[in-house]
Structures are given as C-alpha cells and as structure tokens.
C-alpha cells in the first residue's frame, strides 16, 4: 500500500489532536508515515504509533524554533524525497498552510487547503471543502503531482489503530532561505485550562451584547459548567473584551464543535464563516430578528444577562 506523509503538529513532543485526526484520514488513502520536527520530535512516536503511524521520521535542530516556516518546508521536502508518498497531509493551522503551500510549489504539486473530509478516489484523494462562509460544499482533487492537502481540526474522529511507529532519523539539509526570517523572541500563550477552541466539543461564545470585559465572566461560567472552550465575536475582540486568539470567524478561528452557543452575537456572514458547520447551534439574543436565529437548532429571544446565568445554574444543578 502507498505511504502517506502526515506532518505532526506538536508542542515539545505532545501531539496535538488535529494530527491524530489526520492519521484517521490518512489511513483511508494509504499507510501513514509521520514527520515530527524540532524539540521533542521523538517523544511523539508513542502517540502516533497508537493511532496508526507505521513509521515516524524525526529531526531535531534549533532552526525549527529559531526561524520561520522555511526549515520545516526543507524537512518535509526531504521526507517527500525519501518516501515518495501518495499524498502529504498537513494540519490546517496558519503555519501548516504556509508550509504546505511552499512544499507544493517546490515539488511541482497542487495544493488543497482547509479540507473538512477526505476519501480515496480513482484519481487520488478527494477532498471536501466548505466555501463562501460555509454556504457551499465542494469536492476537489489535486490533478498534478503529489497531492498536498491541509485538513481542518475536527474533520475526523480520533481512532486507535496500533501500528509499528518505528522511529527513523530524517536527514535534512537546510536551504539558503531557511534562515531568512529570524524569530527574535517568543512568548508562549498562557493556558487557560479550558479546551483548545478549535478542538473543543462545545464552544460558548460571546459578542458585543456581552457589553464589557468583566461580563465575559458569565460566558466563562457557562463554558466551565459544560467543559467548553470560550469564543468571541470580532466586535467583542476589537472592543478589547477578550483576546484575539479566541475570535471565531473568517479572520479568527473556524470551529466545528458538536455544540455552539452564541450569546449576544448577531450572526454576521464573517462570524458565520467560522461556526456554520457546528453540529448543533444555539443562540441567545434579545433581538428576535438577529440573523443568527436563521442558523439555530434552538434559540432563546431574551436578555443574556438573565438567560445565561439561569442556564448555568440549571446545568450545575442537573449535573449535581
């Protein structure tokens, strides 16, 4: 069976969930061979083997942290040359898309970004994408070269599928471009203890209606009662009430949880773009005409300052 390269997104050896989802999709198209780079690369092997990686190619070098994007492209290109895979899958983060694009150009291949599903097809992998703010679904494929496809988080279930996961050192020589953009400082994002926005099964978001940074505490309390991640509309982020890393929408994160709860959010097209594919959508808004109600499975027309705390209390008492 043909091999499929899977680019591993990890933090010091801890594999992030979207990579495990990629392994599920990769197994539909071939045998997953993972590529893990940078500090802790070899520590990813156990988790990757558990989820189906037959091989884990690793390479550690300071360049991966000290310079932007290009060292990773060099390494992935080395892996493509070593393996001659049937496809290359990369998680659809901002960086993942940039790595994938430059790789595709170098190896003379087409690229598909932000796939939400992947199937084997007669003429290579077929990717499903959601476009125009999720109002259309397309099926595409790469027609030239080795398909390079980036896949959004929450596109597949994580499945255990134990495989050998044999670690092999990848040999990489960095290109002249590798050291072009220096990372002179890095401030890691502080963990909130809540689930990762793009990976969460439930997302609770607040918008302009929340009316102040301090009021986001009621959104957080609802999120915590459900074990959910917290999101925000751009209006709330621009007002400085919540960090940009939590913005949901076209220029923020796109989320596809089992349940999305929007409070005080009108449902502008750019917000929809980031949440419209959620399985179940719930909204609380005092304006019965708000466009968000066109999307909902369940909506409450009311003041979020009444409804949200009451909901949180009720959830807590039901959970005991």
């Amino acid at each position: 069976m043909a091999e499929v390269l899977v680019y591993v997104d990890h933090v010091d050896g801890a594999v992030r969930k979207p990579t495990l989802e990629l392994l599920t999709l990769a197994r539909r198209v071939g045998e997953p061979v993972a590529v893990a780079l940078g500090n802790g690369a070899a520590d990813t092997a156990a988790a990757l083997a558990e989820h189906g990686a037959v091989k884990v190619l690793t390479h550690e070098a300071a360049e991966y942290a000290d310079y932007l994007v290009v060292p990773k492209v060099d390494a992935l290109q080395a892996a493509v040359e070593a393996v001659s895979p049937a496809a290359v899958l990369v998680p659809s983060s901002a960086e993942g898309k940039e790595i994938a694009a430059r790789l595709a150009l170098r190896i003379g291949s087409g690229i598909i970004t932000d796939a939400i599903d992947l199937e084997a097809g007669d003429e290579g992998p077929v990717a499903t994408q959601s476009v125009f703010a999720a109002s259309f679904t397309t099926k595409s494929r790469v027609s030239k070269g080795t398909p390079v496809i980036t896949v959004k988080p929450n596109s597949a279930a994580v499945e255990a599928a134990p495989a050998a996961g044999a670690v092999e050192a990848l040999s990489v020589s960095f290109s002249a471009q590798a050291t072009g953009t220096k990372v002179t400082a890095r401030t890691p994002r502080e963990s909130t203890g809540r689930p990762e926005l793009t990976e969460a099964a439930i997302v609770v978001s607040g918008g302009r209606g929340v009316n102040g940074a301090e009021n986001f505490a009621i959104i957080e309390a609802l999120a915590d009662s459900l074990g959910a991640a917290v999101g925000a509309s751009r209006a709330a982020v621009d007002a400085g009430w919540y960090p940009h890393t939590n913005q949901v929408g076209q220029t923020g994160k796109s989320v596809s949880p089992q349940l999305y709860i929007a409070s005080g959010i009108s449902g502008a097209i750019q917000h929809r773009a980031g949440m419209q594919t959620s399985k179940t959508i719930v909204a609380i808004n005092k304006d019965a005409e708000a466009p968000i109600f066109e999307l909902v499975d369940y909506g409450v027309v009311g003041d979020l300052f009444d409804v949200v705390p009451a909901l949180t209390e009720e959830i807590k008492s039901r959970k005991g």
Binding site: F132, F136, K144, A185, R186, V301, G302, V307
Partner: protein, 262 residues
C-alpha cells in the same frame, strides 16, 4: 535612500452578496458586486504608515491580478494614498489557482522592482492564505507573514506574529514579503482629496506576454487542482425559538439535556 513597496490587492465578490459558482465551477464574478478585499485594505494601510514613518523616499505601487473590473480595487487603494497601480489582466487568466496567481504576481513584482511586498492575510473569497508564502518562495526572499504589527528601519523589517501557541517577534532583511492581519490597525477611509487625486494617478496594464508567461501555465488549464462538484449546503432545518419569560434558561437546559449535552 528609497524604498519601493508593492502591495498586492485582490478584487473579490462582496461577502455579503449571494456568492456562488459559475457553470465551470469557478467563482462567479458576474452576479455579485466586487470590491477591494477588506483584508487587503490593511496591507495598503500598513504601506502608507511605513511611508509616513520613514525618512526615505517611499513609493507605493498597488498590484492586482484580475478581470477588467478589478480596476475598482486599484482605484480604491490609490484613493487611500498609494502612488501608482499595475493591473495584470488577460483572458487566459480565468480560473487561475493560488500557484498560478503567485507566479503572475512574482513576475509582475520583479518587473515592477521592489524592496518590500505587502499582502493581506487571506483573500475574502478563496481564504487560502497561501499566496504571500508562495510569493516569498518564488522570489527567494524572506517570508515575514501574518503580522499584527510591522515596522521597517535600515533595510530590516520587524513584526509581531500572533500564532496559536505563541506570539513571536520576527526580523528579516529586505527585500522581503510581508503579510498583515486585520489586527494590524484599522484602514483609513479615502478622503475626498484622495479620491480626486486617484483619478490622475497612473494605472499600467500588463498582460501575460508582458510577463513572459505562457497561457498554459495559468488559467483553468494550468491549474494544479480540479473542483469536481459544488453543492449548496442544505439550509439548516428551522429550529425552535422561544421567548424568555423567566424560564428561558431552564427551557434551554431542558433542550441541551434532551440532546445529551448535559
């Protein structure tokens, strides 16, 4: 010293319009009004700010690859304050993918001459966010992308990139390709004076032969990907809407429990 900035801007169908596909499964650009992609306004804004904060002689050229109407996007950028514009237009460009677009932009940028290219973070129609990285790869210059803060001094570009896991400070020597996010600062509105001045600013038109690009390298034929099908997402089935008369929170909890979320 002089600094030549090229800002790449895209003309896109209005996101609030009813966007759809044409019969050949390319984006239908006829039925929906187009405009300068809002995310590229941020790129124009940063170019203007770099110019205003610089002691050098700064020349800002806006560049678009697109159909006849794409001139509107150039005019808007010129009225914001850019100095001149280049429009790459050719019938053979219809259906060009990101790889092809980056080829055309790279050739045009090289022909125009540049020290710094500034792009938006993503186009609002394709939303791939890959063209700036592709452009840097093709030009063989540093990629300093997705910046929420940018400055240029003494031949060096610096900026802040807010990633998922960390916020990073970046630095590279010019020439370089930069892209800026919508966190980089609100774009200005064109003034009346700016709009009048823009009418007199030069707009050059180039076609593929001006850039030594063969028709087969771009367009639908040159594309590296094919769209086999496009279907409108089925409308969501109308949900239940209740009015809160004191029980809204409880009713919602009941619904969530019925769906096994609690």
């Amino acid at each position: 010293m002089s600094l030549r900035i090229v800002v790449t801007v895209k003309y896109v169908p209005d996101a609030t319009g009813d966007r759809h596909f044409a019969d050949d499964l390319t984006v239908d650009r006829d039925d929906v009004d187009g405009l300068l992609s809002e995310l590229d306004e941020y790129a124009v804004e940063q170019a203007l700010q770099i110019s205003e904060n610089s002691d050098d002689d700064v020349e800002i050229t806006v560049l678009t690859v697109g159909p006849e109407d794409a001139k509107d996007a150039l005019r808007k950028a010129l009225s914001m304050g850019a100095d001149k514009a280049i429009h790459v237009e050719d019938d053979d460009l219809h259906g060009t993918d990101a790889l092809g677009t980056s080829l055309v932009l790279a050739k045009a940028v090289e022909k125009a001459g540049y020290d710094l290219v500034i792009s938006g973070m993503a186009s609002t129609d394709g939303t791939m966010g890959v063209v700036p990285a592709l452009l840097a790869e093709r030009l063989g210059v540093p990629q300093v992308t997705l910046l929420s803060e940018v400055s240029v001094e003494d031949g060096t570009v610096k900026g802040r990139r807010d990633g998922d896991a960390a916020s990073e400070q970046l630095e590279a020597s010019l020439p370089a390709v930069v892209s800026v996010t919508d966190q980089s600062g609100e774009a200005r509105y064109p003034s009346f004076k700016g709009i009048m001045a823009a009418k007199k600013k030069p707009v050059q038109s180039w076609d593929l032969s001006d850039l030594d690009i063969e028709a087969e390298e771009v367009g639908l034929e040159g594309a590296y990907t094919v769209v086999d099908a496009a279907a409108e997402r089925p409308a969501r089935t109308a949900g239940t809407i209740v009015k809160d008369e004191g029980e809204g929170g409880k009713q919602l909890a009941e619904y969530l429990a019925s769906q096994k979320f609690i």
